[in-house]
């Protein structure tokens, strides 16, 4: 990946030197660089999870397997309204909302197999707060100046509207310290 990055960087720098700042090629360069960088961010891996076998919620006892419950195992670091109570699910935004790609992550232990998983708490945006099943657990939460671990930040960023509606809790990998 580094070689590709360097090649893209060299190409883009060359193009940038040969064209005016407002030239459309400059803008294309931004897209190329952005495209090469974004897949390296942990938050962009939600569509290509490294988890071969996602843990089975149905096998869990009590509310630890219920995505509408604050006790749901993936909700260990949430601060907000779980989308499962708002017309969506733990991996789907409710109808008509917008999924924010920029997010924060927590690490939650699955009580079924005892393994730790990295959970991406993406916000769903564009409609007023759902407000149902409000849940504040904040395990591992850090202050705003450690943004990637802070659930006090409205993560409706890079979306058409930054109005917060609810939060999903998607597994994006197994914790590396396992």
């Amino acid at each position: 990946m580094k070689l590709v990055d360097r090649w893209v960087e060299r190409s883009v720098r060359g193009v940038a030197q040969r064209t005016s700042r407002r030239h459309f090629m400059s803008r294309l360069g931004v897209l190329l660089v952005g495209g090469s960088v974004l897949p390296l961010l942990p938050v962009a891996r939600s569509n290509e999870s490294s988890v071969a076998d996602l843990p089975d919620d149905a096998s869990l006892e009590g509310t630890a397997g219920d995505p509408r419950s604050c006790n749901y195992w993936r909700h260990c670091a949430i601060d907000g309204a779980p989308c499962s109570c708002c017309g969506g699910s733990q991996t789907a935004c409710p109808p008509g909302t917008e999924l924010s790609a920029i997010t924060w992550i927590g690490t939650c232990r699955n009580p079924g197999n005892g393994k730790n998983y990295i959970i991406s708490y993406n916000d769903c945006c564009g409609k007023s707060t759902c407000g149902r099943c409000m849940c504040f657990r904040s395990e591992g939460d850090k202050p705003i100046y450690v943004p990637q671990k802070s659930n006090d930040i409205n993560w409706c960023q890079g979306t058409n509207s930054n109005i917060y509606h609810c939060t999903i809790a998607a597994v994006i990998g197994q914790s590396a310290d396992e």
Binding site: D79, T129, F136, K142, Y145, P147, Q157, S161, N162
Partner: protein, 379 residues
């Protein structure tokens, strides 16, 4: 038209409100606030969590319990700026033309303190950081000319507004550092992800004059300080999740880190006492007192509400009082006069409770204050 119909018409006309109003009528007016606010008037900030496009601040008289007025602040309202040198109030907010959709506009609105109506606004980059409010999301520099607003997109920066000229100055990139803690004339500091402080200086026109990064003064992974620091004179008091106070002297151009001390004894720690809340600290400047909202809880309970306020003498660094609250609180504040009041509110129950900070006696409760109280400010 038959005679009966004509009679009915005449009766109706003769009983019109205009007719009734002759001779006896109230004069309808719109109330205004006096030029001088009282020391016990309190701002109760409400982000309106269920409909964040409509944040509000309520002005309440904590002596009488009287509700005085509402300031309609706008979307993702965090806090007010209350300059002592200008008869104005400022609030940064985010607006959409169709409530939740359309093109985003961020503004600093200037309000008239006597009507709480907007009189002007300055448009700023649409990048202010939103979320759970703190009192550090924006601030005025000490000479009160420039207002700094923290941005995150997630790139981190600060927007500077000249409040004297009512114009946006510039956006200053502050990678890795967040929030605004004013430290002097045209100067403020920010908390950084590695546990250091970034001191940002401004030129006379408000443009960035330079930045200095300190060495880390705490470990953000082992025991981070909360964002809810309080300032007393030239010291900022940052308090960690585990209850350690990190005083930072900001009298000079660069911060001076003073010895840390603990809010908790070994016995307190054994009993699992912890700090916690959205606005868990307050100070009384003249009496040199620190107030800390406390609860018993486990790790990661740094945002849980408290049911006690512990009071410390900042000269001796000793606890001098423990006030048992009559209900949970997530925000506390203290008025700055010689007969101070302790004020508490809980985000889950929209009321303000007023205590005597010496006796701990509950004096009164003011109910029906919006929906989700996030912070308390005094004038």
């Amino acid at each position: 038209m038959c005679v009966v119909r004509r009679l009915i018409l005449i009766m109706l006309l003769s009983c019109s409100p205009l007719c009734l109003a002759q001779g006896l009528a109230d004069r309808m007016t719109i109330a205004t606030l006096p030029p001088e606010y009282q020391p016990h008037w309190v701002w109760v900030n409400d982000i309106a969590y269920g409909h964040v496009a409509d944040g509000q601040a309520f002005l309440v008289d904590a002596d009488t319990g009287r509700f005085l007025a509402t300031l309609s602040a706008g979307g993702f309202f965090m806090k007010l700026e209350l300059p002592s040198t200008r008869n104005e109030i400022y609030a940064a907010a985010t607006f959409y033309p169709r409530v939740n959709r359309g093109e985003r506009t961020d503004v600093v609105t200037i309000f008239d303190p006597q009507t709480l109506s907007p009189v002007d606004e300055v448009i700023i980059p649409p990048r202010r950081q939103t979320g759970n409010p703190t009192l550090a999301h924006s601030a005025l520099t000490d000479e009160q000319r420039f207002m700094a607003i923290y941005n995150m997109t997630p790139a981190q920066s600060v927007s500077v507004v000249d409040m004297q000229e009512r114009k946006f100055v510039e956006e200053i990139a502050t990678p890795g550092c967040a929030l605004i803690y004013p430290t002097g004339i045209r100067r403020f500091q920010m908390l950084c992800g590695d546990g250091s402080l970034l001191t940002v200086s401004l030129n006379e026109d408000g443009s960035g004059a330079g930045q200095v990064r300190s060495k880390p003064f705490f470990d953000p992974w082992q025991d981070p300080v909360t964002e809810k620091a309080v300032r007393i004179n030239n010291q900022w008091l940052y308090v960690s999740f585990d209850g350690y106070v990190y005083p930072v002297d900001v009298a000079g151009k660069e911060p001076k880190f003073l010895p840390t001390w603990s809010l908790l004894s070994a016995e307190d720690r054994a009993e699992s006492w912890r700090i916690g809340g959205l606005q868990h600290l307050a100070v009384h400047e003249r009496r040199q007192l620190l107030f800390s909202l406390m609860h018993k809880g486990g790790i990661d309970s740094h945002k849980d509400p408290g049911n006690y306020v512990w009071v410390y003498d900042l000269r001796s660094k000793k606890r001098i009082n423990r006030i048992k609250l009559k209900g949970a609180a997530s925000a506390i504040q203290v008025t700055q006069d010689d007969q101070p009041l302790l004020l508490t509110a809980f985000i889950g129950n929209p009321k303000l409770t007023v205590y005597d900070p010496d006796s701990g006696e509950r004096l009164r409760t003011i109910k029906q204050l919006g929906s989700t109280i996030t912070g308390l400010q005094t004038n």
